[in-house]
């Protein structure tokens, strides 16, 4: 990946503007590798902030540094302006929902939730008041006397949430909390988490490797890869204007070609792709004339045959090589004249769809084109990365 600096598109989109957590040039080195390289961003009040990336990208290490379980090798972590880099976890005003929930198996739900306020030596009535309130928020008031082992995965998840929120932390840290749930439950919990976040108004810092989850829930997403923060922005920005080839491939799927910049006028850049010229509007790549970058089109923006004659569209002849029915869409792979592959997601109509071997017109409109700095991985021109 040739984009060392994170591109900060629109620093603030959350409801507040006050930074709660500041990650100030933080690096974390372990004995044999660097987990986080110079992470530098802040998370604002009331925001749902996600750290997204494949395993080993440094997202969990960053979260653990915010929680206090790891100490930064360099840089500082500030919590509402106060440097907490070396403050132990039990003296930090943030709470964590752990990946496997880490509920205390020898205590019932009520005692689990009461653990935090009791640790803080709050008076009995206050403890009871808070526990009742939070059990209400997560809708588990009827389960107060159950042990964690008697609850379903989703219920355990909600106990973990209540337990972490009961201290009214400045930020709630969530470490892949939905990873252990099955798909249906996970989708339900995504909405539930959003509801709870709106209800309590606390900043959520959410770690996940699931791009769909991040897109669904976040106000802003930090995309991380091998220790680097590649891009920070709203889901829409990250999807429509990825800052790097990695982000383009990791968030959703992408057709990527090597492109050479031949002309720049204003925000429109003309590039040469697969032996043809086309314009990229609203270009943010920063590439200069003569430089090589990556040209990207999302598969759902690629049309096969339909309205091929539309003058606004860039059209190319292609041979269908593969057809996969995926439910709402049909996924096509087609080979272009220069040997490169284009992937298209076409709405699954009942009939009239081309089949492998057909020669078709693949096309897309100008606003579907995005130019990225850096070149795609050399092994294949199409790095449509399927994220399960």
């Amino acid at each position: 990946m040739s984009t060392p600096q994170a591109v900060q598109t629109s620093p603030i989109t959350g409801p507040g503007t006050k930074p709660v957590i500041e990650i100030d040039h933080v690096s974390k080195e372990f004995a044999d590798f660097t987990a986080v390289k110079d992470a530098n961003f802040s998370i604002v009040e009331g925001e749902f902030f996600s750290m997204l990336g494949p395993s080993g990208c440094g997202k969990t290490t960053t979260l653990r540094m915010i929680a206090g379980f790891e100490t930064p090798t360099s840089g500082a972590i500030r919590l509402q302006g106060e440097d907490v880099s070396r403050v132990p976890p039990n003296k930090r005003d943030v709470n964590t929902v752990f990946q496997q929930y880490a509920l205390f198996p020898h205590m019932n739900v009520w005692d689990n939730v009461a653990y935090g306020p009791r640790a803080k030596k709050l008076p009995k009535e206050e403890v009871a008041k808070r526990v009742e309130e939070l059990l209400g928020v997560v809708r588990l008031s009827d389960f107060a006397t159950r042990r964690p082992g008697q609850l379903s995965g989703g219920q355990q998840q909600r106990v973990a949430l209540a337990r972490a929120l009961v201290n009214y932390p400045k930020a709630l840290l969530l470490d892949e909390p939905l990873g252990a749930l099955d798909l249906k439950l996970r989708q339900g919990m995504q909405l539930e988490l959003k509801r709870i976040q709106r209800e309590v108004g606390i900043t959520f810092v959410f770690v996940t490797h699931d791009q769909e989850e991040a897109l669904t829930m976040s106000d802003r997403i930090a995309v991380m890869n091998v220790g680097n923060v590649e891009q920070i922005g709203s889901p829409r920005e990250i999807y429509d204007h990825p800052a790097s080839v990695f982000v383009a491939g990791f968030i959703g799927q992408a057709n990527l070609w090597v492109a050479k910049v031949v002309e720049r006028t204003g925000s429109t850049t003309t590039v040469e792709v697969a032996g043809r010229r086309l314009d990229v509007e609203n270009d943010r790549s920063g590439l200069q004339v003569g430089e090589t970058g990556t040209f990207m089109v999302r598969p759902e923006r690629v049309h096969i045959d339909a309205d091929a004659a539309h003058p606004e569209r860039w059209t190319v002849a292609a041979t269908i090589t593969e057809l996969v029915f995926q439910g709402p869409v049909v996924r096509y792979e087609a080979r272009l004249a220069d040997g490169s592959t284009v992937v298209a997601h076409v709405p699954a109509r009942r009939d009239g769809l081309p089949i492998p071997g057909d020669v078709v017109k693949a096309s897309w409109s100008d606003d579907a084109c995005v130019l990225l700095p850096g070149v795609p991985a050399p092994t294949k021109s199409d790095t449509a990365a399927d994220e399960a």
């Binding site: 206090g68 039990n90 496997q100 880490a102 205390f104 640790a119 972490a164």
Partner: protein, 279 residues
Amino acid sequence: MTATTTPSPTASPRPERRPLTSRILGLWAWLVYLWLFAPIIVIIAFSFNKPVGKFNTAWKQFTFDNWLHPFNKPEYRDALVTSLQVAAVAVVIATIIGGLMALALSKYDFKGKGLVNIVVVLPLTTPEIVMGSSLFTLFFARNIGFGFTTIVIAHVLFCISFVAMTVQARMRGFDWALEDAALDLGSSPWRTFRTVTFPLILPGIAAAALLSFALSIDDYIITSFVAGDRTKTFPMQIFNANKVEIPPQVQVLATMILMFTLGLMAIGAWRTIRRTATT
């Protein structure tokens, strides 16, 4: 058995009958149980025997006399008291040190951990006769007076190993994220240990303590080397006197120890059952 629970309409109804192999297996199991428990049954039975002469080895007549006067033989009573005292002190010391060792060995990675793991096992694998004579030499050379203290030191030695290994085995798979969770919620490290770690490893520690109690009460070889002339434990008393007499009080006291141990184990089992029932 499963075949008979889903009868097909065409199959003729037949009485449920265990196959021959299953019945042989059952019989075999009972034989093994008999093998295991025969000595214990004999001890309990002979505690109710009215012996002829000094040796309670031939069945004569049923009596409650022995149980009514279990402490009639002061030398056996005193020896048992000594044994219980040694066991109590040794188990407490060994459980604390061994438990902490197990905690360190399961929680942390440190230099020389592999070596420590080997050293921990050594006292259990060393032949008791070697261990006993070595300790004798050591205490003798240091001019330490033999007696209660030396017995306790020796018992702590092999009990530590036992506790460390048992507790470590029980802690395998302990979810250390629970400690993180407690700290994260604002609990101090000490409170975290007290309210989370300790209650969760307590069953393992209790089991280890119980087993080391049994080891300590039971030990003859090492004890006989380090006891000196004046201190006698229960096994020593029986062993030293068995050429001269085996009074029924031996069986009575042995049965008492057995009942005590079984009682503790029953409490442990009952608690576990109750917990799983509510979990």
